[in-house]
Assembly symmetry: C2
Homo-oligomer: 623 residues x 2
């Protein structure tokens, strides 16, 4: 992977930063955030502005370009990748390390007195605007909104914004109709005494209306906003997709409906002016509810006194707690996904020794097996298919320049998942197709101990996920090892593979307490730069636990793995496991056998079934 | 303990809330925070306004009185105590439980439209003012500063503000001179480009000048503020204590000094006007550094554009990392403290069966033994001497009305500590002088497992204490048990027994990363309401750890117990311990034997030594 040469691009950008055609006054710095106007993590090609200007295309990162400097902030998952993809015009700012300055502090340290810092107000979240603006102002600088996106002005071959057809989901998938979701939302609005709710996140629009799209790769969402009043519903969406009879039927656009359920369809681009009109027409005490991560532009459309901002919207919180239909769908999706992976690993085991399977070929094969499963829609993220040293690049994606061939001498890490109409999957397995070294087994076993510590943890109702993060690290820490990423993220139900408001991370973020029905990943890892990467990831469902004393009726929670794919026993040093951990592995494998075995049998996949049976043999007793 | 009858008091308060002599406009609610003008946790009698108005005298709590309601917010440590001490005029708001409203939300729910909410601007921290003010304003109410404290106007027999003599500490105790501390502080100020630093916390003033006082019980501090400029030092302090020749010598008040080390002594009450003068004289870019917890009154004295607010001051952070002189002092103090407790427990073992030892008598005896030790100054907090059901009141202090007699049938919990000139101690032991039940032993053993899990934890440099909190709970959680308080707090060096900026808590607060030299407590517990309380607390020092792989040179940390008092083996169900835990207990007891045994021998305390030897016998092997 050779870095993108950005010398000319940066020169152009620095020119437009001073060009009165685009900026009222010259800006001495320009911020290029990662997201789109919906603060999406995964974005459409037309929104990949930070990748365009820098070459670094990881999922998280913020670029800042000044007259003298170009700097990129990203987190531990991407240190190696960013360093590889960016040329020497760029300075990498490693977030999470002690000496790395924040973007604001760095700006203050490099800018000449009284500087203007520009940013696209549609791209920057309001909370981030507020924080940056405050620090900059207190140092004598100004954060200014630049209406025209400066990257777009220099991006001559910028792709079109996608506008793909929609999928309607019936009750058997969603469990709740969009009308009932609107009713529940309005009741939350009434509780907080707000009159309007602005839906800005794409997955929230999709969830609310029980619609899915494919405007963003891997995320079944579509570009839209919604504004919900106590008696009105406005959906801002472009293209002719509202002409689709199935969509019209689903949204009852042509039916005679009570006025409060009548959906007004408006152009996507009219959200700002419509919201400004709402803002202008508010009477005292009429509040408008927005996420504090909504864009600065939309937030500013509502006068400050009328804003009601929360870190998580009621849709985000409702969406996180899966109902019975969604949970059952997720179970089905994970069984199908396990079938595909049993096929894949069985195939790899035969093919790898021949020396003909590359990372890309393995990823393609995984997709092929998944696509054979019912209701498969697409992958849920770019497959991380990595062998040997590539495994240490935490969010690696194989490209022709980096594409290694799998061998019996290296560890292979596969982190992959799919979107099925009934659920979203995300699973990582780390395999060795030859004989792992003692050190590799040792590291793998510590990671496994951490995985089990979270998966088997019992905790009281109301516990926040970040309190469980250290359980995943304890075995690694004891030996002086660690990993620089969180342990888990929320997972959507045929929606984004990363979703809030819960997670398991050492980072102190405002996570909501875990409750039964929430679904998160459990994915500790260990990465040896230049050598190998290890990660063991299951998607797990929060379920009530049985305990001896039950927290005086406060109730207990634990996790149930939805992912049912064997964990390679060859990689386990059984003598490092406790008896309890050994039993966990054996019981997990027994469940894989029963549940996935039955499905393999049903699908007539006998060779993969034999592989499954062999891979789920009980572990030898601890010596 | 019968509740304080507050009907008349509340009537008076509600009258002055409308009296134009005290308030410009009537206030519909009045907030009575816990702290004093320095946001101290422990406060002088003249500052116990919340206890005066409500009867509830725990260390944490905020009262709010409206025309119709009187409500008290406190945390899990105090639910029982507050319920006992307050009459039915008061509603207890249990913080940390899911359905308890915040103070702001509650005010919004009960106040008539357009209300004024009053508070003493010297008592409320600026960050809290900001938060409350914002929520109230957005609901159409106003938070207003009421200059005269309304409680003081109705508190006819309010005690005088104390003004006791000072103690000077030489280098053998502090390791660093006050001049060098000023130099270090100014270098931190220069780094952040601030010209002034306002010291508002009492322990920070004491630490900075290497002085101690006794204005507040248990905390060796004195009422003072300081304002440090790049070339000036102003100390705001009352009384004739600056006439003390030892203090004058220590502060070099009569020496010819470089001007930048010349201390200007000013009256305590002149801080506001002096700070306003500083604020008025600032030129652009001259910032003033304050804690964001400094009072609203002092914060407002500096125009907003000139303020530099941080959650922790550089003094707070420097103070937390103990130097070699302080660490050695803490070790000595803990050995002396252990001697006193060996004497006490030996005495209790003989006396309890006679049925003549009350909780108060036991606390007095503990103080007597401590006071025999060299450099003893006072206790470091009110001794929690509690038996049977009183043990479940987490911050219980025995008073004549509640004073139970210790017996061979109940668990006894003693949480106590002292101030020695060389260090501060804080230790909890839970003992049974008869035969504990299987359930009591089971709970004790889970608490011990949690204590060991924290104490023996190994973690990478830069880890924040809150990430270790769940280690203390895991064994309890597995059985459906928990405790409603944090696991540990920072401990001062002959200073406050609770200090920032580090700690070990499930509460997400802005704790600073742990580093070698920091000192915290490790004190998980379990409380069975109406039956018993269990807590095992050591003060522990953060030290470098040896690990197999050492986090790629990032470095490892662990804890070393400074407290060396036997943990009652009679209470341990050895079969619930892992081999590693059993070894930990045995090695800990071996160290108690060696270190404290030698000191008992040196002091000729042979009976207590025999007790120690018996109590530190190795545990039987796990069956």
């Amino acid at each position: 992977m050779s870095p993108k040469i950005t010398t000319e691009l940066l020169k152009h950008l620095r020119q437009v930063m001073k060009n009165p055609r685009y900026v009222q006054e010259p800006v001495q710095a320009y911020i290029v955030p990662s997201g789109d106007a919906h603060q999406s993590e995964y974005i459409a090609p037309c929104d990949c502005r930070r990748a365009f200007i820098s070459g670094f295309d990881g999922s998280a990162g913020t670029a800042i370009v000044t007259e003298q400097h170009a700097a990129m902030w990203t987190d531990g998952r991407y240190f190696l990748q960013a360093a590889h993809q960016m040329d020497s015009n760029w300075t990498l700012m490693k977030m999470g390390l002690k000496d790395t300055p924040t973007q604001e502090d760095w700006l203050v340290s490099v800018l000449p007195e009284g500087s203007k810092v520009g940013v696209d107000p549609f791209i920057i979240p309001a909370d981030q605007w507020k924080r940056m603006s405050k620090v900059l102002r207190s140092a004598g600088h100004d954060l200014v909104p630049v209406k025209e996106n400066l990257i777009d002005t220099i991006w001559t071959d910028c792709p079109q914004r996608p506008c793909k057809p929609l999928i309607t989901l019936d009750l058997s998938y969603t469990g709740v109709s969009w009308r009932d979701k609107i009713v529940a939302l309005r009741s939350k609005m009434a509780e907080r005494k707000v009159m309007w709710f602005v839906v800005t996140a794409l997955d929230e629009v999709a969830w609310l209306f029980n619609l899915r799209g494919s405007d963003v790769e891997y995320n079944p969402v579509f570009f839209a906003y919604a504004v919900i009043g106590m008696n009105t519903i406005r959906l801002f969406i472009d293209g002719d997709r509202m002409m689709d009879p199935a969509v019209r039927e689903h949204l009852q656009l042509d039916s005679t409906l009570e006025p409060e359920f009548k959906i007004q369809v408006m152009p996507y681009g009219s959200i700002l002016s419509e919201l400004q009109a709402v803002g202008a027409g508010l009477s005292p005490k009429e509040k408008v509810w927005l996420s504090d991560k909504a864009s600065y532009a939309l937030t500013e459309a509502i006068p400050k006194a009328y804003r009601y901002l929360t870190p998580y919207t009621p849709i985000c919180i409702a969406k996180a707690v899966k109902n019975a239909a969604e949970t059952e769908g997720m179970r089905r999706a994970h069984i199908k996904d396990a079938v595909a992976l049993c096929e894949l690993f069985n195939w790899l085991e035969k093919e790898v020794p021949k020396g003909t399977v590359t990372e890309i070929a393995a990823a393609d094969k995984a997709e092929e097996f998944r696509s054979q499963q019912k209701d498969f829609v697409e992958l849920s993220f770019a497959t991380i298919s990595s062998t040997g040293p590539n495994g240490a690049i935490i969010h690696y994606k194989p490209v022709p320049e980096t594409n290694r061939t799998l061998s019996v001498n290296e560890i292979y890490l596969l982190d992959s998942g799919a979107q099925y109409k009934d659920g979203t999957t995300d699973v990582t397995r780390t395999m060795h197709f030859g004989t792992p070294s003692a050190y590799e087994k040792e590291c793998f076993t510590y990671v496994l101990k951490g995985h089990i510590a979270v998966s088997a943890a019992i905790f009281p109702n109301g516990t926040k996920g970040h309190l469980l993060d250290s359980f995943a690290r304890s075995a690694l820490w004891d030996c002086g090892l660690d990993y620089l990423h969180g342990t888990g993220h929320g997972v959507g139900s045929f929606l984004n593979v990363h979703e809030g408001p819960c997670g398991i991370s050492y980072k102190t973020f405002a996570d909501e307490p875990l409750e039964a029905g929430m679904i998160v990943s459990d994915e500790p890892g260990y990465y040896e730069d230049g050598s190998f990467g290890i990660r063991i990831e299951n998607v797990v469902l929060v379920i009530p636990a049985e305990t001896k004393y039950n927290f005086k009726n406060r109730g207990s929670l634990t996790f149930e793995p939805l992912t049912l794919v064997p964990i390679q026993t060859k990689m386990i040093d059984v003598n490092l496991l406790t008896e309890k951990e050994r039993t966990w592995v054996n019981e997990y494998h027994q469940k894989c056998r029963e549940v996935v075995g039955a499905e393999l049998e049903r699908q007539g996949r006998h060779e993969a079934l034999r592989w499954l049976l062999r891979e789920t043999e009980p572990l030898a007793p601890v010596q």
